[in-house]
Amino acid sequence: MEHLILVRYGEVGLKGKNRRYFENKLMRRMEQALKGLPLRGIHRTYGRLYVTMDGEVEEALHRLSHVFGLVAASPAQSAALDLEEIKVAAVQNMQRAAAEGYTTFKVETRRPNKAFPIKSPEVNREVGAEILRQVPNLTVDVHSPEVTLRIEVREERAYIYWQELSGPGGLPLGVSGRSVLLLSGGIDSPVAGWMAMSRGLEIVPVYFHSFPFTSDRAQEKVIDLCRVLARYSGMIKLYVIPFTKIQTALREGGPEELQTIFIRRMMMRLAGGVAEKERAEALITGESLGQVASQTVSGLAATEAVVDLPVLRPLIGLDKQEIIKRAKELGTYDISIRPYDDCCTVFVPRHPEIHPNREAVAKKEAGLVTPELLEQAIAEAETLLITSD
């Protein structure tokens, strides 16, 4: 039996001439997400996409609810452009709703196809009356119904649905290009990555491993975070960059108060190196202003000065509580707060420089870490392909 899922998308539809491109991308992302399921096809009409399946609708809906660009997905039924046919489908839908225990409803019709002779309010009345006749224990409540039965009268057919699963919205992954995400095990960077993804950026995460100063369990944590992000993106390629030698060189040669800035600069350079390899056009970090001493404007300036790429900081306007809230919604919070890394505060300087001068930092940093050491770190990086759990 053929099953239909009606998909609404928001911003994608608003993008003028680019609309086709965005829609194509969204359709491709949906196809990828539905891989392995009995998909018949995805079709478009103005402002809507229709997915036809031979089954496994529940799983399909779940997967679609993680596709960026998609606003909502509804299991729907189609009917010929005939009021009687529409009534039959509407009654069937409301029988299912009643079986699930719902008792109040209203009918809401949209009629983009003006060739259909019956106006929306009349369709509402007719169909509502039919439902009341056919399905026991239902009453109409136009102000706050438990179920809103929607009827969309379109060019070729009418579509009837009442359930809706919301998607993440935003732009389809990849329409904005590709970027490298500096991913630590903390609360912020996975949220930053998700926000970048929601604006159409594909992400390639990099994680800096400083064994024995950070534990292998911290790396496990980062892998688990990638699993969560992969729910939205499909497979993720994680770079694990060995960082111990660079960190050691910085510790042995650099002044204490600039260690954090130095470390961030090295990470930026390495992320830039990965970006070049991966043809990525931007770096993403979880920084926001003023949370810690290195995240002052001058601190950020000194950090990003070492790369040519734009450094995007999606969290810049959020406070910690807001970031935590988003991390909880995303499902990364519980992973991020595992303690393995926090107990290792070995390298936090007691009196960090809060307003570093860019030139002074560059001068003091010169010669501490050779370009060869950086190249070696990228060459020795391990790449892991991670899929959702």
């Binding site: 100063f213 650099g254 290792c344 070995v346």
Partner: protein
């Protein structure tokens, strides 16, 4: 790569004979001891034998041994059970500052329930302060809980002296001893000392995880914690963990049989490691008892200027497995409550590692550990100290 597993106070490798006995208990003797048929009776016999083996080590009646899921359950049951039974006789409880979390957390709960708890301090070696204990004993005291061997520094608590104090000053109080780190390796005879409750565990003595026991004196009237099918004389319901119980009994009797040679061997390992580290690596400290009163299988050392967990991981890379404090406390970010109670300075607290031995460790493993420490510690110190 060479390997040295020196985390035997966290858990041990199960003895091959124990594994064999447990496999037999799963594949052949798999009956439910409560069943009326022959298979049930055979399983019941196996449990009975294990009960005898445990009782033998403690020199108590087998009827006084109840099998549990391990040390944590035994501690919970003993402390919650006895305070529930005696709440009307008094509201004062005593324990020490260096107990395992499965004891301390129960006391914190009891405090919330309205009991008054005195936490006895320890001296710089980790021994309980007997004067403080004496001063805190009152006619209102209904329970005293002291551990036998401290899991982090190996201090063997002076149970004989504690016993005398209790008999003199608070004979009415029940006495619980958490003997998880001492059972079957060191002698402990509850009846001789007047101990009412003893917790013990299998996986610290080359037995399986998830298996332990509680000794409760026959006339104690300890109410059960877990209700149900009435197993263990109605005291601990739930179908008996026959393989685990068999494993506990056999592990206890094997350890008990070999304890003299095992103890002198482990004492030798400990002394070699302690001496070599102290003389060959500067700014190190042996925490806990120095020459006597320390368990020969636990050695706690501090390496100033190094974070314990960083050193732990660097050693792990060399196939050397140790712990910072106890394995349980590595779930928490803060430093060891035991070392804090002993008054260690912050750098020594941060740089503390516990080495704990089994009879199967060798002197050459110890030498390998020292060699690795000599290579790693200076390197880490240099990096952590910075310029």
């Amino acid at each position: 790569m060479l390997e040295a597993y020196l985390d035997n106070s966290a858990t041990t490798c199960v003895h091959p004979q124990v594994v064999q006995a447990m496999v037999a208990a799963m594949q052949e003797n798999y009956g439910n001891p409560s069943s009326g048929h022959r298979r049930g009776q055979a399983a019941e016999q196996a449990v009975k034998k294990a009960r005898g083996q445990v009782a033998q080590v403690l020199q108590v009646n087998p009827e006084e041994i109840y099998f549990t899921s391990g040390g944590t359950e035994s501690n919970n049951w003993a402390l919650r059970g006895i305070t529930q039974a005696r709440a009307r006789q008094g509201r004062h409880l005593i324990t020490t500052k260096v107990e395992h979390p499965s004891v301390l957390d129960v006391f914190r709960l009891l405090e919330e329930q309205g009991f008054t708890v005195t936490y006895i301090p320890v001296d710089k070696y980790g021994f309980v302060d007997l004067d403080a204990l004496e001063a805190s004993l009152t006619p209102e005291t209904i329970l005293v809980s002291t551990m036998y061997v401290n899991n982090e520094v190996g201090a063997i608590m002076p149970l004989l002296e504690i016993s005398r104090l209790l008999k003199q000053k608070a004979p009415q109080a029940a006495w619980h001893v958490d003997a998880v780190q001492g059972f079957s390796k060191l002698q402990l005879e509850p009846h001789k000392l007047g101990i009412d409750l003893v917790s013990l565990s299998a996986h610290k003595i080359q037995g399986p995880k998830g298996s332990g026991a509680l000794f409760a004196r026959h006339d104690l009237h300890l109410p059960p914690l877990i209700l149900g099918g009435g197993q263990e004389d109605g005291q601990r319901s739930g179908t008996e963990n026959v393989p685990g119980i068999v494993g506990l009994g056999l592990a206890a009797s094997i350890m008990w049989e070999r304890r003299e040679t095992a103890i002198s061997h482990m004492a030798q390992l400990k002394e070699r490691l302690r001496q070599r580290v102290l003389t060959e690596i500067p700014d190190t400290l042996a925490n806990g008892p120095q020459d006597k009163g320390g368990a020969p299988y636990i050695l706690n050392m501090s390496f100033a200027g190094v974070k314990g967990e960083v050193l732990l991981r660097a050693l792990g890379d060399k196939g050397i497995y140790v712990s910072t404090g106890s394995a349980c406390s590595s779930h928490h970010a803060h430093g060891s409550h035991v070392l804090k109670a002993m008054g260690l300075s912050q750098p020594m607290l941060d740089g503390a590692l516990r080495f704990s031995f089994s009879p199967d460790n060798t002197l050459s493993e110890i030498d390998y550990v020292v060699d690795c420490l000599k290579e790693i510690v200076p390197k880490l110190r240099r990096i952590i100290a910075g310029r």
